[in-house]
Symmetry: C2
Subunit: 264 residues, 2 copies
């Protein structure tokens, strides 16, 4: 995000616990100035963007009041919103918070995988709530526009139920497909794995720490959506086992039509 914001804000300040990360980000012109002391950086920060794994975001939010003296606007980029917004609601009035979730990502992470085009034309969800000041919502909208994304304003819980269905459960089926292939006990499967397997399992290569945070912070919605996918698989297995071709065709066709219309 800092990469694509070059020239689009007064200054991009960066914090990392590791000085090598700061040095690399400065050398690549990803940030303008960098700190390994968060409190020092916050003295000069107008808008703080939390872009770490969800558990780190949840750890940091309650520590913010002790680190700041003046007002602060706060946004996070976590992939689940309910728990984070709940933590934000406990912040003092000097902090004006809003939740954010840019709907883009890669299965690679770190500065070497940084991609200035990552946000372009993607949906960027904002979840304002009663504690969000109007100027923070405005600033967050400017941020969404500056990175080239499309704005979508949502209730945090509705967001979490939807992303469980279209992101978190697909991650789990990817993991299960790789797991099932490992348990086939025949190395031939890896030799035969073609584009279908590659695409179906791409999400299984995601950063585990990040994904586990997402699953854990969105547990009820993930379990509910996963149960629906499990039901669907069980029904498909039963239709195939029974040789119920007519009903199997109907089910396959319903999903085909829906999927074919999605990405034109």
């Amino acid at each position: 995000m800092a990469m694509v914001l070059r020239g689009k804000c007064a200054a991009r300040l960066g914090y990392s616990a590791r000085s090598e990360t700061i040095e690399k980000a400065l050398a690549r012109n990803i940030i303008d100035r960098g700190w390994t002391d968060l409190g020092e950086m916050l003295k000069e920060t107008d808008l703080l963007v939390l872009a770490s794994p969800i558990s780190a975001i949840l750890d940091l939010i309650p520590r913010l009041p002790a680190l700041i003296s003046g007002p602060l606007q706060l946004i996070d980029l976590g992939s689940s919103k309910s728990q984070i917004v709940a933590a934000m609601k406990c912040l003092p009035e000097s902090i004006s918070p809003i939740g954010g979730h840019p709907m883009c990502g890669k299965e690679t992470s770190g500065l070497d995988a940084a991609d200035e085009q990552l946000y372009r034309d993607r949906i960027f969800v904002l979840t304002p709530f009663d504690r969000t000041l109007p100027e923070t919502l405005s600033l967050a909208k400017e941020l969404v526009a500056a990175v080239g994304s499309r704005l979508l304003i949502l209730d945090p819980d509705r967001h979490d139920r939807a992303v469980a269905v279209i992101s978190h459960v697909p991650y789990l089926t990817s993991v299960a497909l790789v797991d099932a292939a490992l348990h086939a006990d025949d190395d031939l499967v890896w030799q035969l794995a073609a584009s279908g397997f590659r695409d179906s399992t791409r999400l299984a290569a995601s950063n585990v720490k990040m994904m586990q945070d997402i699953l854990t912070s969105n547990r009820p919605a993930v379990l509910e959506a996963l149960a629906r996918a499990q039901d669907s698989l069980a029904q498909l297995a039963e239709l195939l086992e029974q040789g119920n071709d007519a009903e199997l065709t109907a089910r396959l066709e319903t999903s085909r039509r829906q999927r074919a219309g999605l990405y034109q």
Copy 2:
């Protein structure tokens, strides 16, 4: 396949029940000559390539003896091999058969989706058996080389168990993911569906007739592999529900490492 064989064989003869298909294929130089009467074409055919859905291949094989007078070499391109090879074993000695499965495909079908590059650098499985003459195996190997694929010779049953794992079950999980999203009863899911959902569900857009044939002809192997994927999903759900973070991390990490090493 006929498209990429231009200039690489004496002549490419094409059969379709529909004359418009023949006309289109001739106009696009995909075939050199075309027939809507299979028996007439077979009078001039050395090597017959069956490239229809599996059920049509299985229908046609027993009808071949009545359609030919001289010798014929036969290969099919069906995605499951055990049933087709079993049908080939019942053919008279004048026909020398071999099973084939090029490990490539698209979720679109028909002449308009034809792609000369489809076979390039992909694995092309051949399943010769006791009825396969040495010259037919040689010719099939030439075919694999001519379309630019990489040869892999396999036992039909082992092939079928492996493709169930890496192709047929990923199709079913794709279908189940779309089905689960449909049952979320919130149109927001389609608006939020990003690249993860797109890739995880690409296979659900496949031709239903073709996929149903594959599933039905490979039923035992598909059900066995599907049960393994279902077990894996159930275990992931249980670990998430129990909050067993250590074991969940271990499972996610095992699949991540395997998947990350697959496609470099």
